[in-house]
Symmetry: C2
Subunit: 207 residues, 2 copies
């Protein structure tokens, strides 16, 4: 059984839901598309959603070089990143025991700027995350596009996962109440792709 | 056209995606189940996922009275709350223009403790959010359960939304590349409810 990698990465509330093994952590990060990145700018907390990808033991985010938040992170602002997959609504027989099934990761640390080959590799991974094999099919970033993109990486050295699964916890005296209890599963589904035909067609017509 | 309610609530990156009207803001908040609540504890940023519900112009979260983060918020720590609905993956003909369709809200402020009738009303709204009509069917909170629950509210006075929809932005010179481009819709679906039968059955057998 793995333990917490650091004191601040230790799950404090409901420690029986804590998971410190690498496999659980990586599975959650590899399934999610968005992370929630918090830092402190001018003394105040700020949290924004960002695309991200994991490569080995680092989490990469990308953004515009014009982003005030990314500039703060580049210069060493402490960060906290959270990723949550919501798996279900947990309906108990008492109001108090309603809950949600989820898998989440929280990571603490300081981001580093990725450059050169590491930067390109992260951009490739971000595209491959959207569609496998896509990087080789699309137009690669130009020198100007590369310069306009900041890629930052967070080492996953202080990260922990928290997982809730299964049925509601109930007070024994509630079990006979005539109330439906159970789990409503929630899942994130990919729909039927919608091709960007309109503009290709307009382009063909304007020739 | 509504403007930003405050300078820090003004969308800085890609301001054409900003939405400051109440209807957009409320629709996003009312569709999401989880918010990402950031604050500063001991000088460092922390962000955690939380169930929440909107009532009128306030956002309510609930948690255990034992939560270190809720205690910090109760005593006036500045907070930033973010809610994101991911609607699609945007696949462009160039790596650079890949994006996501999303609707997000960011709200800044200071939480207040809800008590008495306001507290009960927020607990009811949290349950009703999971299933309409459920509050009247389940066992109501006992005095002990009420005492163990903290409900905090954030006035939505400094909140803004950001929305991306539609097809990829493309460089005109990329439009004829032989690359599939378009949107892969993403949606959060409720599955078939799974009843907590096992324990009711076990209970019946043990009589």
């Amino acid at each position: 059984m793995d333990g917490p990698p650091s004191e601040r990465a230790r799950v404090q509330r409901l420690p029986d839901r804590a998971r410190y093994d690498r496999a659980t952590l990586e599975a959650i990060l590899d399934e999610a598309f968005v992370c929630h990145l918090a830092t402190v700018v001018d003394g105040a907390p700020i949290v924004i959603p960002m695309m991200f990808v994991r490569i080995d033991d680092r989490l990469y985010v990308h953004g515009s070089t014009g982003s005030r938040m990314l500039r703060a992170l580049e210069t060493g602002a402490t960060a906290c990143v959270e990723v949550t997959l919501l798996d279900g609504l947990v309906l108990a027989r008492s109001a108090f025991h309603h809950s949600m099934n989820y898998r989440s990761v929280i990571a603490y640390g300081t981001f580093e700027v990725a450059q050169g080959e590491e930067k390109t590799r992260a951009m490739e991974a971000l595209i491959e995350r959207i569609e496998s094999g896509r990087w080789d099919r699309v137009r690669q970033p130009s020198r100007r596009e590369l310069a306009a993109t900041t890629i930052l990486s967070l080492p996953l050295t202080e990260a922990s996962a928290k997982v809730r699964t299964g049925m509601p916890v109930e007070e024994p005296s509630d079990l006979e109440l005539p109330v439906w209890a159970g789990v409503v599963p929630l899942a994130f589904e990919r729909g039927v792709p919608v091709a960007d035909l309109a503009r290709s067609a307009a382009r063909a017509l304007s020739r």
